[in-house]
């Protein structure tokens, strides 16, 4: 029997869906409503369908664990820099409270998971941003971990796969967050200059300072269907131009049309596609 209390609703448009579906044993998380078509879905079915609504094709936001399971060969992921924590660099009031809530919700000290692993047998360095941690915002920890990932990959001659989801720079770390845009860009450049491949997979939403730095600096930019990708958020633009935005504005399909992403790749093809691209860029010893 289904009843209303069995459904969990996203808290807001950005924080969206949760890690919930991985634990079907908790009764109140057994079912979820599709925000697009309102269909009642069993969490387990949804998870098996890679968090894509089987009724209407709506993409639910994917948590870090599900993403790693989707993309990385089983047992090959080694997490790095997991314990880095912020020093609260501008001593922003109430930031600690916000952080501890996010840490409790995600079980992680900050908003990105980095490491190495194999994708269809191909070795790669990875970073996967976490929408559940303060909307995937980039502060000093996210910037530092992504920088270290590129530096490590440069040293080891590894390609980098980055999965982005972010509301932008983290306001509570002020100017230090802004500086992470430059810092990560420098690390991407060095990795690139050494002849290494960087693939970005942009997911919903990727906006602000993350789009305006490493998300848009990849050799190959992939996007998930329907993902919102932009510099300014839709509300900010609407306030600026004092008009409603056209349907589909800043969606992945729109960016493809305007020439800012290389391809839109559905979830069930992502691993295969990325493995293929990695294979095409294998270092060759040719005379």
């Amino acid at each position: 029997m289904l009843n209303k209390s069995m459904f969990i609703k996203p808290r807001n448009a950005l924080e969206g869906d949760g890690q919930s579906s991985a634990q079907p044993s908790i009764p109140e998380k057994l079912c979820r409503a599709c925000p697009a078509c309102k269909a009642a879905l069993f969490s387990q079915d949804l998870q098996e369908n890679l968090l894509v609504c089987p009724q209407c094709g709506h993409y639910f936001r994917m948590d870090v664990e599900s993403r790693l399971r989707l993309l990385v060969d089983e047992g090959s992921f080694v997490e790095l820099y997991a314990d880095l924590t912020t020093r609260d660099p501008i001593a922003f009031p109430n930031y600690e409270k916000k952080l501890s809530a996010a840490r409790k919700a995600t079980g992680r000290p900050d908003g990105v998971v980095c490491g190495t692993g194999r994708i269809g047998g191909q070795a790669a360095a990875l970073f996967v941003m976490d929408a559940q941690f303060m909307m995937g915002s980039m502060g000093t920890v996210v910037g530092e971990k992504i920088t270290r990932t590129f530096e490590m990959a440069t040293e080891q001659g590894l390609p980098v796969l980055g999965v982005t989801v972010s509301g932008g720079a983290r306001m509570q770390e002020g100017i230090f967050s802004l500086m992470q845009m430059a810092k990560t860009s420098g690390a991407v450049l060095r990795h690139s200059q050494a002849g290494n491949l960087y693939i970005a997979l942009l997911t919903d939403p990727t906006t602000g300072g993350v789009t305006a730095s490493f998300a848009m600096e990849a050799d190959i930019i992939l996007a998930e269907p329907q993902a919102l990708i932009g510099f300014a958020g839709p509300r900010v633009i609407e306030q600026t131009i004092r008009a409603k935005l056209p349907e589909g504005f800043q969606r992945a399909e729109f960016l493809l049309e305007k020439g800012f992403v290389d391809a839109i790749v559905p979830r069930n093809e992502q691993k295969k596609t990325i493995a293929h691209l990695l294979k095409l860029h294998e270092r060759r010893e040719e005379a």
């Binding site: 880095l84 501008i90 300014a232």
Partner: protein, 259 residues
């Protein structure tokens, strides 16, 4: 002065815009237009200047002086073509071994429909990455408002200096107030808590110098002329590898963390 008072000073009517700095610091300036892709964005003004006989590429954000000019220059908020013009001129500077001096003054990159369509994020990202590797010295001076990524796109430099009453922030205090406190009227509080003043940023090691406004702007231009001349001389003598390594390390250490 409180942070809010400095914010008001940075935005004050009559505060010198970049044109005044360029006219007073350099011996000549020849403006170069256009991004060679789409348009000439008047929010960004660039060209070749001379400083004590040395050719220098200057890239600035210009808010405009009177209402008519302000409108023409989109109040100093660049579109992607502005950032692409800036990058074109910086690559040109690299080719001819001239240093680059940037003057930053913007509430932020423009948040319009066309800006998104033409890749505002992509244009800014390209500048950050290219400036990090540009093979010629870059110095940036924040003269008024330093609004987020739109300002940073001209402030990836070997040194970043700020005028005493300039501000530099991850988000406008208005935007910050509306998101952080759900109350757009708490601008004063956001200005304070976001730590946006030159004095704060100097303390954080995010800017190397704060240029005094106490003796008036004429004195500030004179001082800037000397300081820029000396710093460019020093930077032009560095070997390229050390210059680029120092630029990388400059940003690398900001918000550095340990396990």
């Amino acid at each position: 002065m409180t942070a809010y008072e400095r914010l008001c000073a940075a935005r004050a009517k009559g505060r010198p815009t970049s044109r005044k700095y360029i006219d007073n610091i350099f011996d000549s300036f020849f403006e170069l237009h256009g991004d060679r892709f789409f348009a000439d964005d008047l929010a960004v003004r660039g060209g070749i200047a001379e400083l004590n006989g040395r050719p220098v590429t200057v890239v600035s954000m210009e808010k405009g002086e009177d209402t008519k000019e302000k409108i023409a220059r989109n109040f100093g908020s660049p579109n992607p073509e502005g950032y692409r013009k800036a990058l074109r001129l910086m690559k040109q500077a690299e080719k001819f071994h001239r240093p680059v001096v940037c003057f930053v003054d913007t509430a932020g990159a423009y948040c319009g429909l066309g800006a998104e369509e033409r890749g505002q994020a992509s244009a800014i990202a390209a500048n950050l990455m290219e400036m990090m590797g540009l093979k010629t010295p870059i110095l940036s001076l924040l003269i008024g408002e330093g609004g987020s990524g739109g300002a940073l796109a001209l402030a990836v430099a070997d040194e970043v200096w700020m005028m005493e009453n300039a501000v530099y922030s991850v988000i406008s205090p208005e935007g910050g107030a509306s998101i952080l406190y759900k109350d757009a009227t708490q601008v004063e509080r956001a200005a304070e808590e976001l730590r946006i003043t030159a004095q704060d940023l100097y303390g954080f090691g995010v800017v190397e110098r704060v240029i005094s406004e106490a003796e008036g702007f004429d004195e500030a231009y004179r001082s800037l002329r000397d300081q820029l001349d000396a710093e460019l001389n020093r930077r032009m003598q560095m070997d390229m590898q050390s210059l680029l390594r120092a630029r990388y390390e400059r940003f690398r250490k900001i918000g550095g963390l340990m396990e």
